[in-house]
């Protein structure tokens, strides 16, 4: 009784409803991707690189259709022609149109680079996910195996695999790069998974009876994607380099199929007489490697909140 009375005499007034607006969220929601985009936009070099890469991809896809030549036919009336109105990038020592060859070669190089990066990363993520999630003996054995495999220099191993599988094939190169390239991403994914697996949402999922496979593929691996995307972007130029390297020592894609590495390696021999044959593919290889590196640097800053200054 006493209490009710006291309450009634207490000098509180009922608030107007409008006062609640202070609780309202005025700004629009920011999702993770929007946040990443906002951080990414600030890196002008990365943005420009992304645009250049997009243009390169368009040219690689549609460039060969822009003129009437194909990459394997010889035009004996125009051998070693410098860039002209007919042959925009000139022709090579066999009279083949270089504009077409550069873009078809770009297709081969980029296809190898992208597939030979994605496959190892997928394998590495699964291996790393399993190793990190189960821990204990499984983890120890897998990590020791990876230690040993990573001790063997990848390029030597690549060369060996290409010798064994037969050189000249696009698929051979992809298989070789996949077999030698998954260990790094496995280690990275394991490290990430070890950090994430102690978090509450994983425990909640476990409590609800989710299988290990579901936890690894639905909860753990998606959370490593950010770092993995950066890894992929920085690995692609390494594979472009590796393909050019192998072509240069005679283990690349077999003629008449061009690749950027092969165009460079053929043209290096006639550099003194026909510098344009060498410089044009080199410029595109360098530009692509440069842009992927700058893009990767930008993505790393955008995707990893810890790195943001």
């Amino acid at each position: 009784m006493e209490r009710t009375k006291a309450w009634k005499t207490f000098p509180f007034a009922k608030l107007e409803r409008s006062g609640m607006e202070a609780e309202e969220m005025v700004r629009p929601h920011t999702s993770y991707l929007k946040d990443v985009w906002r951080a990414f936009k600030r890196r002008k070099t990365a943005l420009v690189s992304a645009v250049i890469l997009l243009i390169l991809v368009v040219l690689v896809l549609f460039g060969p259709m822009m003129n009437p030549y194909n990459y394997y036919s010889n035009d004996y009336t125009a051998i070693n022609s410098p860039p002209t109105a007919q042959h925009w990038f000139g022709t090579d020592t066999l009279g083949r149109d270089l504009w077409t060859r550069v873009w078809v070669g770009g297709r081969v190089s980029l296809l190898i680079a992208i597939l030979a990066t994605l496959f190892p990363f997928l394998i590495g993520m699964v291996m790393g996910g399993i190793s990190g999630y189960f821990g204990g003996k499984v983890d120890m054995i897998m990590m020791r195996c990876i230690d040993i495999l990573m001790g063997i220099p990848a390029m030597i191993y690549n060369i060996l695999l290409i010798v064994v599988l037969g050189s000249g094939n696009i698929s051979t190169l992809i298989i070789a790069f996949t077999l030698t390239g998954w260990m790094g991403s496995a280690r990275a994914a394991r490290g990430m998974v070890l950090q994430i697996k102690a978090r509450e949402f994983v425990m909640a999922s476990k409590t609800l009876g989710a299988s290990p496979a579901r936890i690894i593929f639905r909860h753990l691996l998606p959370n490593t994607l950010g770092i993995m995307v950066v890894g992929v972007t920085l690995t692609i130029p390494m594979i472009i380099f590796a393909e050019a390297f192998l072509s240069f020592i005679g283990l690349g894609v077999a003629p008449p199929n061009p690749s950027w590495g092969q165009l460079i390696s053929i043209a290096a021999e006639v550099f003194k007489s026909y510098p344009y044959q060498f410089i044009i593919p080199c410029a595109f290889v360098s530009l692509t490697m440069l842009c992927f590196n700058l893009l990767g640097d930008g993505l790393r800053d955008a995707l990893d909140p810890k790195l943001r200054a």
Binding site: V163, I249, M289
Partner: protein
């Protein structure tokens, strides 16, 4: 420390063993034999197979190969008939090693200097200029920069010899091409290390004590940045070693890299196998040395 060292040595030995085994079986499981395309009577072919020990069962061949490896006998080349792989290595590896070591030494020195300068002038024009060079070094692979500088300095300007081996002038261009990627990587890494160290408390203490900026850089920042830089030596050795395949081809240098490439293109299997194992062993040993050194320099590493 002993436990750490033993563990590292164990892993290195296992790696070399795995490399040997994988290499041997990959190359021996190939269909056909090296004399398939040479038209000789069957009796001679059989004699040749017996001479090279290829008529025995594969496991027995494997154990014979392992035993030979341990005694330093790396087998004979198929193409250079009668030549020992050991002799080939003894003849040509010193050239590659000399070139590689010179390239590596200057690449580490220049890369670190650039990195320190870049960090000192952070976000000012010297930094931008050096970082621009560093990114160029990454974007210009050896097969692009090699023929280019060979043409400009060798043919156009006639400053340096275009090819060959023996005089100091002939070393400059190949060493530059070989070390460029390492310079670029080291500049970036050294800059990052130096900048990470700058924010540490002990730097603030040093400043409070009244040390000059030069003293702080030389005594504290540089020394603390060197530890993570050690880790870069392993990849740098690998980069220089692989780079020698390309550089020795461009500049016509009689090194082992050129022989490895020739062996690969002419499918000289015994030579490929032995050189693969040889290169692998060198790299594993280098990585082992770096790991051990790391443990000596930084006590925290030994604990895990």
């Amino acid at each position: 420390m002993l436990r750490y060292a033993l563990k590292r040595i164990g892993i290195a030995l296992l790696t070399i063993f795995a490399l040997t085994t994988i290499t041997f079986f990959l190359l021996h499981l190939l269909p056909g034999d090296p004399f398939l395309n040479i038209k000789v009577p069957v009796a001679i072919q059989e004699k040749q197979m017996a001479y090279y020990g290829l008529d025995k069962p594969i496991l027995q061949q494997y154990f014979i190969y392992l035993k030979n490896l341990l005694t330093g006998n790396l087998g004979t080349s198929l193409k250079y008939v009668g030549r020992n792989v050991t002799d080939i290595i003894a003849d040509f590896f010193p050239v590659s090693a000399a070139l590689g070591l010179i390239a590596l030494f200057f690449a580490e020195l220049i890369g670190m200097t650039f990195g320190i300068l870049s960090a000192q002038f952070k976000n000012r024009w010297p930094d931008y200029l050096l970082m621009f060079f560093a990114i160029l070094g990454i974007a210009l692979p050896s097969m692009v920069i090699g023929p280019l500088i060979r043409y400009f300095f060798g043919v156009e300007l006639r400053l340096l010899p275009v090819s060959g081996w023996g005089t100091p002038e002939q070393i400059i261009m190949p060493a530059f091409v070989l070390g460029l990627a390492t310079v670029a990587a080291n500049t970036r890494m050294m800059r990052a290390c130096m900048l990470a160290v700058t924010t540490q408390d002990y730097i603030k203490t040093a400043q409070a004590k009244g040390l000059t900026p030069t003293q702080i850089v030389m005594r504290h920042e540089l020394k603390n940045s060197l530890v993570p830089m050690l880790a870069g030596i392993g990849p740098a050795v690998a980069s220089v070693m692989m780079g020698s395949f390309v550089v020795e081809k461009i500049f016509v240098i009689p090194g082992l890299g050129k022989h490895f490439v020739n062996a690969v293109t002419t499918l000289d299997y015994p030579l490929i196998m032995s050189l693969t194992i040889f290169y692998g062993t060198i790299l594993v040993t280098m990585n082992l040395l770096v790991d051990l050194l790391y443990g000596v320099v930084d006590p925290r590493i030994r604990l895990d």
